[in-house]
Subunit: 159 residues, 3 copies
Amino acid sequence: MSREERFLKALAQLGCSFEAGLKRGGDYAATVCDGNRIYVSGQIPRVGDEIVHPGAVGSDISLGQAQDAAKICALRGLALIRERVGSLDEIKAVLRITVFVQSADSFTQQSEVANGASFILRSVLGEAGVHTRTSVGVYQLPKNASVEVDMIAVLNPSS
Amino acid sequence: MSREERFLKALAQLGCSFEAGLKRGGDYAATVCDGNRIYVSGQIPRVGDEIVHPGAVGSDISLGQAQDAAKICALRGLALIRERVGSLDEIKAVLRITVFVQSADSFTQQSEVANGASFILRSVLGEAGVHTRTSVGVYQLPKNASVEVDMIAVLNPSS
Amino acid sequence: MSREERFLKALAQLGCSFEAGLKRGGDYAATVCDGNRIYVSGQIPRVGDEIVHPGAVGSDISLGQAQDAAKICALRGLALIRERVGSLDEIKAVLRITVFVQSADSFTQQSEVANGASFILRSVLGEAGVHTRTSVGVYQLPKNASVEVDMIAVLNPSS
């Protein structure tokens, strides 16, 4: 399967589609390139106008729901890179993701939530999806999102 | 207007001045360069010895006050780059800002707070101020600051 | 003293050893290189199977304990770079560390906690350990860790 096919399959398994476009807010860019490096703004699990699985993990939503939210964040990040450079095949490496998890007081499985995002990167990009990661538990996130993920990737020299 | 003039105008509109110097704490550097890239340490809205608008947004202070705090953080970041390389005209691009907002329990407008920082970058730097952004709601910040903003920028090759 | 000797001395002063290996979790890499830049995943103060000084700073643990936790995080980051490139002498510069501190409600000394990590970088690496820093107070961290530190460094061209 191509990266594009694996990407679409992962989206379908989550019951999501980005066909309505990748809505975004605020006075900033979704992506900025620095030579072959691409920075992706923090993504919340927004599909169309809906924030999927909002709330604090460990009280409002479950670990499994938060992992799905993290998957959607990662898929949005990939979709924005694709939008910018034309194809997921242009991604040579993922340098870092930071995963912010809206956490209940005693919820300490931020790494397990972040595994949702890591799983998407590895399953869509293969070895190119290997990345470093920082996962932390925050108090709130924009629009009461449960997860937010940002990303720095490297593109092929030709892209 | 030049960038310097727009920078000074934005400062004046906030009723702030950095003429007393940019106070900083801790055992680290305000900026570190990596070739033409410059990393700026996390900035809180400190003017002289005062932290402007401290506290949690949504309970202790209002959205508007937090936006002003975010503006001061961004202006401090610009001032530190200027201090390092001599002029705001040396900034070619802003790659990323991360905006940490000390948030009340149910405050979910972190993006709106971050717009204060984004507004400064765009209004002072123009197109060069376009950036990626991550905004999250944290539980506390150093010195009870309401906002903290860090930055990565690209300088002109000659600088 | 060499960097290696200063590194081992700092570890010994904390009563720690990484000889059992640097345990890690999750589906990601400890380090990823981008040319001469190296990204290090967020490190918690894990020694063997133990998380040293867990809990919220300001209620469960003291500032001094949190500083020790931050030191261990920084030492782990250095150990992972050494593991990847063979020697601490290959580190040319540290661009940024981000220090996430699990904070009690009214604890505002995140910078002081982060000084523990900064102290290690400066004392082991000397001038090469000068870095930019962002310190924030988060609500929770993986495995109830009190501190998490990630890092971006530059390696010597030959490494």
